[in-house]
Symmetry: C2
Subunit: 309 residues, 2 copies
């Protein structure tokens, strides 16, 4: 990378690198992070490619925020305390305005999730963003996919299907009111990783996953990992007012069950445990295998991201 | 990502995820790593893009091995003990043969560096590989760029300029003997991160960096970080027999001073400290600023990677 570009990026990004766990940030061969005594490291990586994970005309601020959110969502799904992140950015050309806007989205995500940016690189090529998040877990606790037991109750956070609805709006297939459209697009462009909820569930939830591929597909990962059957009641799915403004209940339910990119948490609690606020009971865990929602859906195996719609 | 492709990748890659520090590998929302008591985390990320960091006709085994080496080299430059890595792979199409060959290169790197592969993702797009490495450092030690002092001696590991020579061979600009050509291409395609050396230098070296952009550029980072002047004697540069077979001493020195991609370590030791085997004294640290090698070179600011040659 030409020296001038590195200097530019360093100017925008280096101030985002401060945090409690950060001993050394951007500027040497590695960043150095400090865990507390008795903690383990949780880490995950997510790549977003232009034209696959976001439309080519997306705002750089949204691309940055959403890329961090999707990676941070994996920390939330493990119940991890956020420590720091690195961002590897591949850019077709050096564009100072674009980089500035991108850095504003990154700064918003750093603040929102308390995930200081401690390293990264920038390379020339088709636009993609690779975010690696690091978090801390107690030595003996983590929200995994394999602990669900028959008799557990199934919950989700927030509302489902909003991102799928937003894609229908973007594609011109649905014209809700301006307020509703704006709400849905915000949900797609600025998903919120449920880090506080994940940490609150640590020690009580028997299994958890974040909904990136769609509720049926992701609940299926819990069912497979835990060796159980998961029954979902479509009538209980939490839906936003914006999504409920669609005329077809069938389409709404399909979006909520199979649409991805909502980044809510799906988790299981023993029947006697009270659920945290902002979450909704949507089903139960039984002996058996697979996921049953009482409906035959077109694409039950998962969500193919926006360009396949 | 279609389920079938995920299954394919999981089949190739999941067995590479075992290691002493690995509590949980591929298969959940995050991997979980365990540091020893009194250790900190060192982490770095490197992206390799086809056509920028490696030629389009590179073997997938070499692409994988080299991508891991360049990232592991940052751990070496910090003196960190390798813990684990994640790999985010962007692929233009699902090609089982390519993936199989790529996984063989990854497996070789996992074994070479003891860096189990604990997570990653695969996305559709132009070929690029983003490797995030994680290592462990003692609470109070690290090889940084800012500790060099006037009076220190300057060393490098291995030999320099081989990767630059390999690029000249690839470009058809130089035809050394078949043995020499093979040696140079192996040095470019299969660079070795100097992890053992880095760990051995911890506690004695005052500054260290890995040579990715070229000796002059990377020594310049130490000079800038430490507030010192670095003097390099071109007559002392360690050169392979293959490189020395080139007819022009001027070109050889230019490659050794400004060619990147060798991934050797450049480090400073107090004058009284003996250097480890396999390293060469090439200069000294003085009061002042900048890097001086007694030559005026065409591209002293750094190395522009193969496609700019």
């Amino acid at each position: 990378m030409p020296v001038a570009e590195f200097a530019l990026i360093y100017r925008y990004f280096s101030h985002l690198g401060r945090g409690e766990a950060v001993d050394l940030s951007v500027g040497d061969d590695c960043a150095i992070l400090r865990l507390r005594a008795g903690e383990r490291l949780a880490t995950s990586v997510d790549t977003m490619v232009e034209g696959v994970h976001f439309p080519p005309d997306s705002f750089p601020e949204d691309i940055a925020f959403r890329a961090v959110s999707t990676a941070a969502s994996d920390l939330a799904a493990m119940g991890a305390r956020p420590l720091a992140m690195t961002v590897a950015l591949t850019l077709p050309e050096s564009d100072e305005l674009w980089l500035h806007a991108f850095s504003e989205g990154l700064a918003a995500a750093v603040a929102e999730y308390r995930l200081p940016l401690v390293g990264g690189d920038t390379t020339r090529g088709p636009l993609s963003i690779c975010v690696q998040v690091m978090g801390a877990l107690p030595m003996d606790q983590a929200l995994l996919r394999n602990g669900a037991r028959a008799g557990d109750a199934l919950y989700v956070s927030g509302t489902l299907g909003d991102a799928a609805g937003a894609l229908a709006v973007t594609a011109g297939e649905w014209r809700p009111s301006a307020d509703h459209a704006q709400y849905l697009l915000e949900r797609f462009n600025r998903p919120r990783a449920r880090l506080e909820l994940g940490m609150a569930l640590l020690g009580s939830a028997t299994a958890a996953i974040d909904i990136s591929d769609g509720l049926l597909a992701d609940a299926g990962h819990i069912a497979a990992g835990s060796g159980v059957r998961i029954c979902i009641d479509p009538a209980r799915l939490p839906l936003s007012a914006a999504l409920r403004s669609h005329e077809s209940r069938e389409i709404i339910e399909r979006w909520a069950l199979t649409g991805g990119d909502d980044y809510e948490l799906c988790f299981c609690l023993p029947a006697a445990v009270a659920a945290p606020p902002g979450t909704t009971l949507i089903g139960r865990v039984e002996a058996g295998a697979g996921v049953d929602c009482g409906l035959a859906l077109e694409s039950p195996a998962g969500y193919q991201h926006f360009d396949h719609h």
